[in-house]
Amino acid sequence: MKLLTVNLGIRLSLAAFLTSAFGSFALCDESKPERTKAQSVQDFLNDYCVDCHNADDVKGNRSFEAIAGEITDEESLVDYQDILDQLNLSEMPPSDAEQPSSFDRMQAIELLTRQIEQFHAHRKPISTQTVLRRINAREYRNTIRDLLKLDTTIFDPAQDFPRDQTSEHLDNNAEWLVTSSHLLERYLLAADLAISKALLPLEKPIEQTWKFTKNFRQQPEIDNVHGKFNRYEHMTLYDVVGADKPEGAYGPILAFADGVPHDGVYEIRLRAEAVNRSHPYDEAFIGTDRERPFRLGIVPGEQTAGELHLPQPIEPLLAEIELADEPTWYTVRVRLDKGYTPRFTFRNGLMDVRDLWGKLVKKYPEQFDRNPKGIVEVRRAAIVDGKLPQIRIHEIEITGPIFDRWPTASQELLLGDDFSRVAQSGLLSTDEMRSHVQRFASLAYRRPATDSEIEKVMRLIAVRLTSGRSPVEALADGFKTVLCSPNFLYLGENTAGVGGELDQYALASRLSYFLWSSMPDQELIHLAQQGRLADDAELTRQTQRMLSDSRSDAMIDGFLDSWLALRQLGSAPPDRDKFTDYYRHDLAAAMREETDLFFRHLVDENLSLENFIDSNFSFVNRPLANLYGIDAPAGPGFAKVQLNDRRRGGLLGQASVLTVSANGFDTSPVVRGVWMLENFLGTPPSPPPPDVEPLDPDTRGAKTIREQLAMHRNVSTCNECHRKIDPLGFALENYDPIGRWRDRYVRSAKIDSSGELPDGESFTGIQDLKKIMLKREPQFARAMAEKMLAYATGRMMATTDRPAIDKIASSANGTRELIEQVVLSETFRSK
């Protein structure tokens, strides 16, 4: 079944050009019928298609010779739908072949449409279902967070899981979420870790204070010179964290390298100053902004994960402080996990000081006494005699862990009112344990746990008691067992009655994993319990409630990753030489944030899907505004900005999309064109034919990419797809690999971003293309609806899902309504 489904999915996408957008085009043609003879679909195909699409030739893998004249099965449905779409788009027959009269075309379209409708009306109940679906790593992480009420700022229970496989960028496709022994081993470890973290320590840790006032050792490369220069009296920060070989980008307290003794909130007091914000050097050369306060960041570090002065895999920004120029005390509260130590960073600091030391001394020789030679002397001169922008921290105090409640929420969840007594005695009766297991398993399984399921856990607890564990330890082992059960790891998509309708609890989970990528909350479970969730009004109400909860950020993120392939942002890192700003200002994160905020805004305000194609606003921070060449917002963060220049606006003007569709050092109209067809329009092109000669790019000559591509567009087998791909890519050529506008290539050739779409409509550049696309908004809406329904159900869409997708796309007036319509669809509510 799987192969068939995948195959159908791919072919559907191929065929998924929208009919309604173009239907009117053919039907409104006013030319008189040249022939009035009623013609069958077969006659039409024989006259206009079979010349190319026959068993011997099979252009585009389609042979229409054998088509029986009626739709007999889903295989032939795919062909019919494909023919209809091509006719509606006027993409077939190709312009150099004999053309049908508009009457013939119209009639064929009508006949095909009717036959397809009839097939859908009479076909058997859906055979496409979501197969038993494992929660993926992302969902596991969120579920553990919500189930055990754990803080996951630093803790990631899924950190060591093998990466989930994706299919067409979807990371929650049930077919592809395979369970292996490697994963199960890690489930065992993660369960142990998560339960221990939630339950322990049983005794409230004592609050402590650590003070650091001297001996601030620096990164080895610059440690010696600071010892001589300031006797380690303060910590000095220079680089931003994105520097290539950073020096002074991370300031750990080496005397506190072991980190905090317990998970919890810690108060950090520090006395710091911004030094040399107004430096005596050329501003562009130094690159920091004289007008803006320096920003101090705090990230966690863990010594066993590697050098504390260098980047580490886990370093979320825990706090950020705008510094005054004179030494001042600041206080922040941050979350730190056991073993993690705070590290200080310079958010808007220098870039690549390792190179800057030398450049500075060379550029301003008169300011340096001697003529230093070699990296050691140069570094010394720049640090001691230079006036480079830097942050200095003079004193640091750390106090904690501070608990706003004890027992913690996690402990209460696991042991309820028994916690304090258990913490004292370690004792629990069997009945007490059973009731804790019953409560916890019912939460974890997202439905009431059965007696037999509970008894199994109780048996394990009994075994553990026999082997000498205390009652609370044995109970904890029982909880771990629950977290390894298939009832927790797989979504139990049970159906109620015939027709494949999900039962209430399954529906609650489907809803919560769609909108939150996590388990249902109490309200959803409560509604499921009362059997009230299947009601349309209730489902809509719940969808709106869940979308207004911050947990729905997971849907924004997860869906953008799956829809636009944004997960790959950063996987082909831009060239450091050419795109310094990308690293200096952490543009990858900013790009991502823009698209997140944009999507979020369209959902919150229920704005039209047209905004994805073009909009007169977006969200930028200062570095992103600079990248776009537009006015920056006043504050340090992101703000909504009006766009008067429509080179930006819509997804196609966003750097996230433009960067993810490039490879980090140059752009290819083919790659971006394919990206557009696959993700934006939902009509992926066929892979190149097997015998095609690959293009071996040659960038030495004066030939532009357009000229190089023209060569293979002259070959008809290539041109069949490239006439669809290349024009879309050409329109984006004005954007460089990180989405900056450019009028010329580096080798000074002027960029020609005009093109002609397969149906003959031409455009001069991206702004023009967006106007054309706006006219074709229904095609976009269909593609987005298809992807969203796939994301929501955890499976590929098949041809038989087409009516549901059409209905969702056509009935949604706005982005939030699109989500609501997905939820209300029969497909979403069925297995």
Partner: protein, 427 residues
């Protein structure tokens, strides 16, 4: 090019549920220690990179036994007579970066489930044969990072990637860091607990299966299979807990990024083989391999798209030259270690494969893969030129069949193979 495989998924999955090969615990016994006559075990090491080798600097001009070393083969000069270079071998696949992961499997991950052996990779197939005879059936060193997931060379039967060991520090600890007596009790207790948990969740899965339709049941089979496999791993772990790990002849060191760590990783792999901690190792040269650590400013991936610009090609070749040098150093190491109770060196019993799933990065093709095989008891010292014509090409998997047979696996097929590799003889 290859016979079309007719997918029979349902029947396959049913079979997979019962026939999956688990490490053969009973047969393990301590065969080696007891008798002196037993020949040294066969080993296999597979090294691959993400972007291939620049063809213009890799392929030698002549073929046969007279082949002259090309610029990229020059570092292997010392081992010229103990290696074979193969031309026109590949898997007949396309996909550029998205096909690099097929290097050791011959099938794309998306098609793995329709294959008889689930798209298992060469190294894992060999590891199954080793079973529990060594502490680690196999070691895969690499990274989850890199372009489109990096090299992704090791794949299980269930079509999932073997999670890689991320650097020399982790590898060192696996090989040498022993648990002291006190913590050993805790380890055994943990193993007990995990065993009990597996019992419990297997029972949950069996109960769950009763409520499921056929296709869901097949899906749940993955879980049940995993439970069985983890049980075997626990048994293996329990057994090896009682055996002390070898004493490390070198110190543990920090991870400094793959470029700088490469020599250390090779040394550790050599030690792992020498101490018989494993007989199968795989090394993915991707992920954190940074050109900047070789003093090159441009990125590795960018250079691989050289666009025929000579300065780019020179830098690309410099990076690749370094990788070959390190492989050669590894061969030096293996050939300097004498096998106890035999006349050979470690290299005589180690098949060391070096190559890539990428043929030409500039054109993103996965054909004519750069493939070198050293050691392992084959008659080497040639450039084996295989047919170039479209309908006569030999699948790379044929070489893998020859290697598996040499390793002792009784098989005459692997992936889409059509036989063993003609022209490669035993020494």
């Amino acid at each position: 090019m290859f016979p079309r495989f007719q997918p029979r998924r349902r029947s396959f999955l049913k079979a997979a549920g019962i026939s999956i090969a688990l490490p053969a615990l009973e047969s393990a016994s301590s065969a080696r220690a007891s008798e002196k006559q037993v020949p040294p075990p066969k080993r296999m090491v597979c090294v691959g990179n993400e972007f291939g080798m620049y063809p213009g600097a890799f392929w030698p001009e002549e073929d046969g036994r007279e082949f002259a070393l090309s610029p990229l083969l020059e570092p292997l000069g010392k081992h010229r007579d103990n290696l074979t270079v193969f031309s026109h071998l590949d898997h007949g696949l396309k996909g550029g970066h998205f096909a690099v992961h097929t290097f050791l499997t011959g099938v794309k991950a998306v098609e793995a489930s329709s294959m008889r052996d689930g798209g298992i990779s060469l190294d894992q197939r060999a590891a199954e044969h080793v079973g529990s005879q060594t502490r680690f059936p196999s070691l895969t060193v690499g990274s989850e990072n890199g372009l489109h997931g990096g090299c992704r060379m090791s794949w299980t039967r269930s079509g999932t990637r073997v999670p890689p060991i991320e650097g020399p520090r982790e590898l060192f600890r696996m090989l040498f860091a022993d648990t002291d007596a006190a913590s050993r009790d805790r380890v055994f207790d943990r193993l007990d607990l995990q065993g009990s948990i597996l019992d419990s969740i297997r029972s949950d899965a069996n109960d769950l299966a009763r409520l499921l339709n056929e296709s869901d049941k097949h899906k749940l089979d993955e879980f049940l299979t995993s439970v069985r496999e983890v049980e075997s791993k626990l048994a293996l772990d329990r057994r090896w807990q009682r055996v002390a790990k070898p004493k490390p002849p070198i110190d543990e060191s920090d991870d400094l990024g793959l470029t700088r760590d490469l020599p250390k990783i090779y040394d550790l792999i050599a030690l792992a083989l020498q101490t018989d901690s494993t007989r199968v190792a795989t090394l993915e040269v991707g992920g954190s391999f940074a050109a900047s650590d070789l003093g090159i400013k441009q990125g590795y991936h960018g250079l691989s798209h050289h666009g025929q610009v000579q300065s780019n090609i020179d830098l690309l070749v410099q990076i690749e030259h370094y990788q070959v040098e390190q492989f050669s150093r590894f061969l030096d190491k293996l050939s300097s270690i004498r096998e106890p109770e035999s006349d050979g060196t470690l290299l005589s019993n180690t098949m060391a494969l070096f190559g890539s799933g990428m043929g030409n990065a500039n054109s993103h093709t996965n054909s004519d893969l750069p493939i070198v095989l050293a050691g392992g008891g084959f008659a080497h010292g040639q450039l084996l030129e295989l047919p170039e014509q479209k309908n006569r090409r030999i699948p790379l998997s044929n070489l893998f069949v020859s290697m598996l047979q040499q390793f002792g696996v009784e098989t005459d097929s692997f992936g889409k193979s059509t036989g063993t590799l003609t022209g490669l003889e035993m020494a």
